[in-house]
Symmetry: C2
Subunit: 248 residues, 2 copies
DNA sequence: CGTTGGGTTGAACCCACTCAATACGCGTGG
DNA sequence: CCACGCGTATTGAGTGGGTTCAACCCAACG
């Protein structure tokens, strides 16, 4: 069995997912391709896959690219509630009510595979493992959301940014992409919204991490970030928990 | 069709659930009873239904009482990530990994119905509507978690407490219980943890709400709370969004 | 009684926010 | 080519909401 090497510390809470993530992603895409009729669709940065209130009919799986989900309140508040990478499903929130409960927006050019929910259920009836994949994906989504809550409530602003970068790098690795140098597809405003802080705080946190050698900016633009050692970010999060002074 | 009256403002984001919640709960319990072998279990306040890391084998449905789910990080951080009432499912987070990802703890005496996950799947194959109930429950869980994120990131401490009370009262109504006077089953510490603030802030927020006549404490103890008008709480949340001075 | 756990309240502090100025990157058009 | 505008990012100074630290109240209980 070809298990991808996972260089980062395995002790981290958000790392409960099985180490064989690339295999899982491949199985998901293959399973869909083999048993359900799928419709492929290319989206570009800023395009919406679906919007809050749209009639629910399809589930979607990210085949390439990056997506964010936005929760919109009736009063205008909006909140980035999830980031989604290759192999992730989109649209679960629509099953219960028959309407999507959030917006799904592409962060750059990418492809999604869409399947009709009823067709998927029919396929699951014929081919049971497909249902297992579906349930596992929903289960992971729930766990992931809870980990977000945990980080949001228990970490300082700096640590949340560090944890965000670690999460992104982790996701890159699971997609089989290199994660020592990542290009954030989000503006500081989006990151700040996702992490519950302001643009300025995000910026300050990033410069502090750069000062501490935990990350480095590349020559071109400040949206590319070098992460020499992903596990060092996790260590930073741990350190910042203790009331002992970390790095200035 | 007997649709329960929902007195509260329908404009609120967390109110996406179909209005026929009592019917949904009844259907869930009936569906389980009719098609799967269930094992009933009584728990008392503080008892754990399952713990983080336990082998996953069962899903559980609350039949009576109140439960909280606790996310535990390896480093000791713990976070209340969910509250669960009659008809709610517990244990979804265990499907993906084969181990529960959090603790489920009873907030007072209550009964849960447990079903083996594999038995449930088999029953779903025989009786399709059961699968619909399961997926709807998972879908609602995801939506609910996202609403928590939204509140946590976009509301002030006072508004979060108000929103918490509104949510609890809402849940009581959906269970068919009276919601003009609720007994919080949680200590200030638990509430604070759930809402991402300290005990003192929770206490201050409650006294402020009481000063503003939005809630009132009963004669006995400060854990019983009268809510004369639930929709007034939602209105308070809305008001506190605008930078205009609310109530002192 | 004394003790213990939960709750409230006050005072001082501090992290993160607001406000504001500046700098950067990039496309457009002169 | 530079000028210009615009969105984005960074940095500084000042403020404030929420925290920390502390004292105190109260009810339950041995």
């Amino acid at each position: 069995m070809l298990t991808a090497t996972m260089p980062t510390a395995a002790a981290h809470p958000a790392l409960r997912a099985p180490a064989a993530a690339p295999q899982r992603i491949a199985d998901t895409l293959q399973g869909l391709q083999d048993h359900v009729e799928i419709s492929r669709r290319i989206l570009h940065a800023g395009d919406s896959l679906y919007r809050t209130g749209d009639n629910f009919g399809c589930l979607h799986v990210v085949h390439s690219g990056f997506f964010k989900t936005l929760n919109l309140a009736a009063d205008g508040r909006e909140q980035v509630v999830g980031l989604h990478f290759k192999g992730d499903w989109l649209g679960f929130d629509g099953i219960a009510t028959g309407r999507y409960g959030c917006d799904a927006v592409a962060l750059d050019t990418g492809e999604v595979w869409s399947v009709r929910y009823d067709a998927l259920l029919a396929a699951c009836a014929r081919h049971a493992p497909l249902l297992g994949l579906l349930h596992a994906a929903m289960s992971r989504e729930i766990s992931r959301d809870r980990d977000s809550l945990l980080s949001l409530c228990t970490l300082s602003a700096d640590a949340r940014v560090a944890d965000f970068l670690r999460y992104w790098a982790e996701a890159m690795a699971q997609c089989g992409l290199r994660n020592d140098q990542i290009t954030l597809r989000m503006t500081r405003a989006e990151i700040g919204n996702y992490l519950g802080m302001t643009v300025e705080t995000v910026s300050r946190a990033l410069t502090k991490l750069a000062r501490g050698q935990l990350i480095a900016f590349t020559e071109r633009g400040r949206r590319d970030i070098c992460i020499p050692d992903v596990s060092a970010l996790a260590a930073y999060v741990q350190r910042s928990l203790a009331p002992s002074p970390v790095l200035q």
